[in-house]
Subunit: 288 residues, 2 copies
């Protein structure tokens, strides 16, 4: 079985400077391709930076999917025979979205708009309302979601059920304390996302300080058992990580002779997961 | 804020010998109470052992909820002022279930029947069809599920949405290889269960060899950030772990000034999680 080299280019984009960020990403993608990468993941909002203070600031950086940033990724993907998944600040119909594009060998295959907006993002971005896309590529079926989306296992389940062998997730993980000897919590959750679905997960984080904000800088490529294949070293700064992934390993969901993580689901019992949240029952036992 | 001492009594039950197992658990529960425990979790199927080879073997160990095992737990809980959550082999209406009981100060508050049966369990047990119960106790709201259930995040979401501050999970985790320096995969998934819901999770595993089968022996008590508060040492054998848990810490689901892990859910977009599984789309992009 052939392995596909997946790369995550952990970068430090410049806030509000899409032209510089295109140069930065072009250099990193070219370098990753030279190392054998066939699928390259870029950070969330790598076109624009992250720490906006007003909606106008976000809007000023926003581009359509046929704008210069995604066009540059299409060109790079054609030149090097790549799939590229990257985050960009998208303008569409008067709205601004925190989006990710998947381009494959010169063609824009999908744009995904982040559905779960983190903290102040809701002040400038509109949330997406469409499920994470899964795109059939030469390398296998690839799903796309963004950062905080990964912390909603219901959301991760959707591309997995749609057959994603690899989930690519541009992120900007804000730095937060965690106990000595533990990985950052975001990584632990991404490991579980991979394991409960038996699919590969490639997370590309950003790095660098922006308006005083720091980042986990925790790019990681995870196998279908939930174990890291490659990870950015703590405090590594800008770095490209790569891992050879046998994406067909994610086709089988078997975890024992009779157990299968998708077939063993009981969807008929999960109705309440998709219902509007009611307040927690104040006392007594819930119906059992 | 008061802390509640939670204990997990990791035991080595004797296959097919409920009377011996009642002695074993009584001794462990009494010991845990003496250490200050108010909530005590026992392993899955601690009444019967696990490695059955026929349905008749399982059936021969099965007891009703008013049988000797759960009655002994009621007595212990009254004597020591405890909540006890333990797994037992249940007989009901001609079926055999892999069940757990929650008893509180002498009273049986709920019986939960495992909904996600692992591997050969389906050969002797019937699956439960009811959601994990959440019971209001003097110490806080406590949810119950069993072992492989923890690997279905949709299932874990249900008691969390019902306000569980602590999820108690009797388990029998079969030993499996994992990379050096990593925790067993089951633990990583349980950590994510806690973190994505901001609730405490107390897992009580078994230990000992049974018909050649070994166990993770990985009992663990996890805080709402997903970090271990107490864990059985690798290869510890029978041991009781305890942790003082400020269960009210699980009442707030806030993770940043504007973010909340439950309020940020988009249940209206999760419909397909609760639909019968259709085969993965064979090619092209899913609707986006």
């Amino acid at each position: 079985m052939n392995a596909t080299v997946v790369a995550c280019c952990q970068l430090a984009p410049v806030l509000g400077d899409p032209a510089s960020n295109r140069e930065l990403t072009a250099e990193a993608v070219t370098h990753a391709a030279a190392r054998g990468a066939r699928v390259v993941v870029l950070p969330e909002l790598v076109s624009s930076g992250y720490v906006f203070e007003t909606r106008d600031e976000a809007s000023a950086c926003a581009e359509a999917p046929d704008g210069e940033t995604v066009t540059s990724w299409r060109r790079l993907s054609a030149e090097h025979g790549l799939v590229i998944v990257g985050g960009f600040c998208e303008r569409a119909a008067g709205q601004v979205y925190n989006s990710a594009a998947l381009v494959d060998h010169g063609t824009l295959r999908c744009v995904y708009r982040k559905a779960h907006l983190w903290d102040r993002e809701r002040l400038w971005f509109s949330p997406g309302d469409a499920a994470p896309p899964v795109v059939a590529t030469r390398f296998g079926r690839i799903g796309v979601m963004i950062c905080y989306d990964l912390e909603f296992p219901e959301w991760v389940r959707l591309p997995a059920l749609d057959g994603a062998q690899l989930l690519c997730a541009p992120v900007n993980w804000p730095a937060a304390p965690h106990p000595d000897g533990e990985r950052p919590a975001e990584i632990m959750k991404a490991q579980a996302d991979a394991a409960v679905n038996r699919m590969f997960v490639a997370v590309c984080d950003r790095t660098g300080t922006e308006r005083g904000a720091d980042w986990v800088s925790g790019s990681i490529i995870i196998d279908p058992d939930g174990w890291p294949l490659a990870a950015a070293a703590q405090g590594a700064g800008p770095v490209t990580i790569t891992a050879a992934c046998r994406l067909d390993d994610a086709l089988s969901k078997d975890v024992s002779p009779l157990s299968n993580v998708h077939r063993d689901r009981r969807p008929e019992l999960y109705q309440r997961v998709a219902e509007p949240v009611s307040p927690a029952v104040p006392s007594g036992s819930s119906p059992a």
